[in-house]
C-alpha cells in the first residue's frame, strides 16, 4: 500500500497556517466532555498533557517513573534550537528547516520539518514565560551557542542541563493543571496494551507498578509520548527504564512502525570500561564547540596524550570536513571515530576511544570560562573515569543515543489508527535518517505545545465523546491478555536473568546492526535474534509475584518486546539497500567512505504492518516528495 502523509497543499511556508484554518475546532464548553490519555511525561507528554488540560479537555497522564519530572528528556544537556536569529548571523526559519532536512539526509517530510522550524521560536518564548533560566549575557539578553550540522548559532541553553530546565518548565505547567483538576497523573504506572474499539484507539491497559493491578482506562483519544528504543542495544545513553513497549504493543495492535532502523549513534560518549557496564553516559555535543577531536597518527600509540606532539596528532574531523570541522553532524562524526579505531589508532581500554581535547580552548579563553560553560560535564566525566579533563583530553566513543524511527504518523501526528496520536521521539516524523543536535527538545515541545492541541481537535470534533467504556469486550480482552502475559512471564522460572538476555541482545544488535551494517551481518542477526527470543521464553527467570512492586517483572516485559522488535529493526535495515544518515550499509559507500544514498529507489518512508504472530510484517511505503529543496549529496567538507 502507498501511504499518504496528508500534507496540505500550497506554498511551504503557508501550509501550516492554511491547515490550521481548515482543522475543525471543539467548542470550549464541549471540550470537557472529551477525555484524552497521554502516555509518558517527557517533553512531548508533559507539554501535551498540560496544554490539553489548559484547553479544557479531561486528561489522564501516565508515567512509569515515580514523578512527572523524571522522564529521560531531563538528561538532555546541550540545548534547543530555534530560528530566532538573535545573533544576527543569517539564521531564519527556512535555514533551520533546510539544515534539519539536510541533516536528516533527505529522509523526512518537508512539510513537517518546515512546521517544526516555524514553531521553534514560539517554544523559546513559552519556556522563558514559564521561568526557564536560559543562559543570558550581561545586558540580560539570551545567549546562543553552535551545534553540529549548522553554521549559525541558534541553540539556546541552560548550562549543561537544558533538558532538565525545559522538562521542569513543562512539569510545572503539568503540575498547575493537576492542581486545577484538568489532568489526573498516574505515576508508577506502565502502559502494556492499546485498546482499539471499532478500529479506533479508545484506551489503554496499564499495570500499577506498586500494587501490580492490571486495569484499563478508556478515553476518546490516546497520545503516545513514550520516547525512543535505543535500549534495544542494551548499552545506550537512555535511562534504564526507557523502552519500546508502549509503541511496540501499539504496533502489534495495528499501528505502523516507520523506519525502525534509523537510529542515532552519538559521537561523544564516555567509552565502555567493562562487562559490568549498565549504561553509557553522553558528553554533550556542545563540547565540540570548544573541544578538538583527535587520535594519534600512529597505530597502537600508548603514550600519554600530553606526550604526543602536535604533528603526531590527527585532528581527523578538521582534516576531513574543513568547513564544519569538529561540528560535523553526529552520524558522520561517529563513523569517523569508528574508522580511526578500526585502523588501530584508538585510545584507552580496548582501544575504542578518541580524544576530545580542550587544551587549546583553555589557552584561548581560560579554565574559568570553560568551567562556566561545561563545568557539570567535566565533573561528571571525573566521577565516572577518575580523570581530569582540564588536565588531559577526554576519551570519547560513539554510543546509541536517539531513535529517529518510531510509529508512523501523518501531518496531524495521527497514526494509521484513528484516535492514536504519537508525539516526540516515539514518532518518526521530523528527523529523517539522522537528527541534528538540539532538535529533539525542539520537536518534543513543538508537538506537545503547538501541534497536538490543533490537530487532536480535528479528530475529536468528528467523534462523539464518551463512547468507549472499560466494560466493553475489547477492554476486557486486553486486560485478560495482559494478565496472561504477566502470568506466563512469572511461570517460566528458568535459569538466566532478564539482564543476561538483554545484554546478549545488545551485543547482537551492536555488532550486526550498529554503526556499520552489511547484508551478511544483518542475516546473521536474523538468525541469532529468534534463537535468543526462543530461549527467553523457555529459560528466563523472573522472581517474585505479579501483585507487588516487581522490578524484574517490569524489565522482563520490556526485554521481551525488545527481542521481538529487534527482528523488525533488522528487517528494515536489510530492505534499505542504501546508506543514509545514521543507517550505513557497508555495501553502499562512496570511494571516500561517505554514505551513498539512493534517491531513485529509497526515497521513501518504510512503514511496517504487523500481520500476526509467526507471519512476517508487511512493508508499506510513503514516497517522500521534495518540492522545495534540491536533493543533494550531503557534504560537510
Amino acid at each position: 500500500m502507498i501511504l499518504d502523509g496528508k500534507c496540505p497543499s500550497g506554498q511551504l511556508p503557508l501550509k501550516w497556517d492554511k491547515h490550521r484554518q481548515e482543522l475543525k475546532l471543539v467548542n470550549p464548553s464541549n471540550k470537557r466532555k472529551y477525555k484524552i490519555i497521554v502516555v509518558g511525561t517527557g517533553l512531548a507528554g508533559a507539554s501535551a498533557a498540560a496544554t490539553l488540560g489548559e484547553l479544557g479537555y479531561q486528561v489522564e497522564a501516565f508515567c512509569y517513573q515515580d514523578s512527572g519530572r523524571r522522564a529521560h528528556s531531563i538528561a538532555a544537556q546541550g540545548g534547543i534550537n530555534a530560528a530566532k536569529n538573535y545573533p544576527n548571523d543569517g539564521d531564519n526559519i527556512y535555514r533551520l528547516f533546510y539544515d534539519t532536512i539536510k541533516g536528516g539526509d533527505f529522509r523526512a517530510r518537508e512539510a513537517n520539518v518546515y512546521r517544526l522550524a516555524a514553531v521553534s521560536n514560539q517554544i523559546i518564548d513559552q519556556c522563558v514565560a514559564q521561568g526557564v533560566p536560559f543562559a543570558r549575557d550581561y545586558a540580560g539578553y539570551l545567549e546562543n551557542r553552535s551545534f553540529g550540522g549548522a553554521q549559525v548559532s541558534r541553540t539556546f541553553y541552560a548550562r549543561g542541563q537544558t533538558g532538565q530546565q525545559l522538562l521542569l518548565g513543562a512539569y510545572s505547567a503539568l503540575s498547575r493543571q493537576i492542581h486545577a483538576g484538568s489532568v489526573k497523573l498516574y505515576p508508577r504506572t506502565e502502559m502494556l496494551d492499546l485498546v482499539i474499539v471499532n478500529g479506533e484507539a479508545k484506551g489503554i491497559t496499564v499495570r500499577d507498578l506498586v500494587s501490580g493491578e492490571i486495569r484499563s482506562h478508556a478515553a476518546d483519544a490516546v497520545c503516545l509520548c513514550t520516547g525512543g528504543y535505543s535500549n534495544v542495544f542494551y548499552l545506550s545513553t537512555n535511562a534504564m527504564g526507557s523502552n519500546t513497549t508502549a509503541i511496540y504493543r501499539a504496533y502489534k495492535k495495528g499501528a505502523y512502525f516507520a523506519n525502525p532502523c534509523f537510529t542515532q549513534i552519538h559521537p561523544t560518549c564516555i567509552p565502555v570500561t567493562g562487562d559490568h557496564q549498565s549504561k553509557l553516559t553522553l558528553m554533550s555535543e556542545s563540547l565540540r564547540n570548544d573541544g578538538r577531536v583527535w587520535a594519534p597518527k600512529k597505530q597502537g600509540d600508548t603514550r600519554h596524550p600530553s606526550e604526543i606532539p602536535e604533528d603526531e596528532r590527527d585532528y581527523y574531523l578538521e582534516r576531513k570536513y574543513p568547513s564544519f570541522g569538529n561540528l560535523a553532524p553526529r552520524d558522520i562524526s561517529s563513523r569517523a571515530a569508528k574508522e580511526v579505531c578500526d585502523e588501530g589508532r584508538g585510545v584507552g581500554p580496548g582501544n575504542r576511544g578518541v580524544y576530545l581535547d580542550f587544551g587549546d580552548a583553555i589557552k584561548r579563553f581560560s579554565k574559568e570560562k570553560i568551567q562556566e560553560r561545561y563545568g557539570n560535564l567535566f565533573d561528571m566525566y571525573k566521577k565516572i573515569t577518575d580523570e581530569d579533563a582540564y588536565e588531559q583530553p577526554m576519551r570519547i566513543y560513539p554510543a546509541p543515543h536517539y531513535t529517529m524511527g518510531g510509529l508512523w504518523v501523518d501531518y496531524n501526528l495521527q497514526s494509521n489508527i484513528p484516535g492514536l496520536f504519537v508525539l516526540g521521539e516515539a514518532n518518526f516524523s521530523d528527523h529523517g535518517a539522522n537528527r541534528l543536535g538540539a532538535s529533539a527538545l525542539m520537536q518534543g515541545l513543538a508537538d506537545g505545545y503547538f501541534i497536538i492541541p490543533y490537530t487532536i481537535a480535528d479528530y475529536l470534533a468528528r467523534t462523539k465523546p464518551g463512547t468507549a467504556s472499560p466494560e466493553h469486550s475489547e477492554f476486557k480482552k486486553s486486560k485478560e491478555d495482559t494478565e496472561n502475559l504477566t502470568r506466563r512471564m512469572l511461570s517460566i522460572n528458568g535459569r538466566k536473568t532478564v539482564n543476561e538476555f538483554h545484554r546478549e541482545l545488545g551485543r547482537i544488535m551492536w555488532e550486526h546492526a550498529g554503526m556499520a551494517r552489511s547484508e551478511e551481518g544483518l542475516k546473521k542477526a536474523l538468525e541469532l535474534i529468534p534463537q535468543l527470543k526462543a530461549e527467553f521464553s523457555q529459560n528466563v527467570k523472573v522472581t517474585g509475584t505479579g501483585t507487588e512492586l516487581n522490578q524484574e517483572l517490569e524489565k522482563a516485559g520490556r526485554v521481551a518486546d525488545f527481542l521481538e522488535f529487534a527482528e523488525l529493526f533488522v528487517l528494515d535495515a536489510m530492505q534499505r539497500k542504501e546508506s543514509c544518515g545514521g543507517h550505513f550499509r557497508t555495501e553502499y559507500q562512496m570511494p571516500d567512505g561517505e554514505a551513498k544514498r539512493d534517491d531513485e529507489n529509497f526515497r521513501y518512508v518504510a512503514a511496517w504492518e504487523f500481520r500476526g504472530e509467526g507471519k512476517g510484517p508487511e512493508l508499506h511505503k510513503e514516497p517522500l516528495e521534495f518540492e522545495n529543496v534540491h536533493l543533494a549529496v550531503r557534504s560537510y567538507k
Binding site: Q65, Q126, P133, A135, L142, S172, H179, G274, Y449, L549
Partner: protein, 251 residues
C-alpha cells in the same frame, strides 16, 4: 574487591523490615554503586531470592530517582554526587556498607529501598509554577533579566527533586527543596508576580505533608547532589516574611 553489605529489606509498607547481610564479590573500582548492586541482584536471582528493589533510572545524576542512604549518609560519602554517580573506587576491599532507604515521615517506604516521594510533587502542584498557559506570551528577549539574577535562579533551579535534603535532615524538613523552587521563580521577573502567593501555598502544603521545619543543621546542603545552598532557605524565609506584609486579598 569484596564487600559486606547490610541492606534494608522490607516486603511492603506494612512489613516492619530489617537489615539483611549480603556479599558483593569481585567488584571493580570502575563500577558505579548501582552497578555493584546489579551484580548482587543477579546473584540473588540465580539463588531464587528476590532482588533488592531500588529506584533508579537515568544513571547520570539528573533524574533524581536514585535514593539510598549509604553508611548513614544520603547518596553516600562523595560530595555533590547521586548514588548512581558514586563509583566503587570510593570504597576499599573488605569494607562493610550499610544501605537504607530515605527515612522521613513524609516518605513512606514502598519496598526495600523504594520510597514514596509524592509529597514533593504535591508541594509543586500547590503552586510551584508561573501560572502561564501555552501561547500568547511575549518575545523571549522582551523580558530582560540581569545575568546575576538569571545565574542565581539557575543555581536554585538545578534541584533534581531527589529528596536527599529531607532524608539528611534530623527534622525531615523539605525546606531546601521548597526554597530552591521558591527562589528560582522569585528571582525572575516572570515569577516574582506570584511570589507572595506561591511561598504561602507551598509552605502550607509542606507543613500538611508532614515535613519538619528547619533548625539550621545544614545537613541538607551537605547531602545535596547539586550543591544547592542553604542561603536559599534564607531567601525562602525572606519571601515568606514579605508575603505577610501583603494584604490577604493580594495573595
Amino acid at each position: 574487591m569484596n564487600l559486606a553489605l547490610f541492606v534494608w529489606r522490607q516486603k511492603s509498607p506494612a512489613d516492619s523490615g530489617g537489615l539483611q547481610q549480603y556479599e558483593a564479590r569481585d567488584i571493580s573500582p570502575d563500577m558505579s554503586f548501582l552497578e555493584m548492586l546489579d551484580v548482587v541482584n543477579e546473584d540473588l536471582i540465580k539463588k531464587g531470592i528476590e532482588p533488592i528493589a531500588f529506584d533508579h533510572d537515568c544513571r547520570e545524576g539528573i533524574c533524581g530517582m536514585c535514593s539510598q542512604v549509604i553508611n548513614g549518609t544520603a547518596h553516600g560519602p562523595q560530595e555533590k554526587t547521586t548514588v548512581c554517580q558514586l563509583h566503587m573506587r570510593n570504597f576499599k576491599d573488605g569494607d562493610t556498607i550499610y544501605i537504607e532507604p530515605w527515612r522521613a515521615k513524609a516518605f513512606p517506604v514502598i519496598k526495600d529501598l523504594v520510597v514514596d516521594r509524592g509529597a514533593l510533587d504535591r508541594i509543586i502542584q500547590s503552586g510551584g509554577y508561573v501560572s502561564v498557559s501555552t501561547g500568547g506570551v511575549p518575545d523571549a528577549n522582551a523580558i530582560l533579566i540581569p545575568k546575576a539574577d538569571s545565574d542565581r535562579a539557575m543555581d536554585a533551579a538545578e534541584c533534581i527533586g531527589c529528596g536527599a535534603c529531607v532524608a539528611a535532615c534530623p527534622n525531615g524538613s523539605a525546606m531546601l527543596f521548597v526554597s530552591a523552587k521558591v527562589a528560582h521563580l522569585a528571582l525572575l521577573p516572570q515569577g516574582c508576580v506570584e511570589a507572595a502567593r506561591r511561598v504561602c501555598v507551598m509552605t502550607e502544603t509542606m507543613m500538611k505533608e508532614g515535613f519538619g521545619n528547619c533548625s539550621n543543621h545544614y545537613e541538607c546542603q551537605a547531602a545535596c547532589p547539586k550543591g544547592i545552598k542553604v542561603s536559599f532557605i534564607a531567601k525562602l524565609n525572606r519571601e515568606f516574611i514579605k508575603s505577610l506584609a501583603k494584604p490577604s486579598e493580594a495573595l
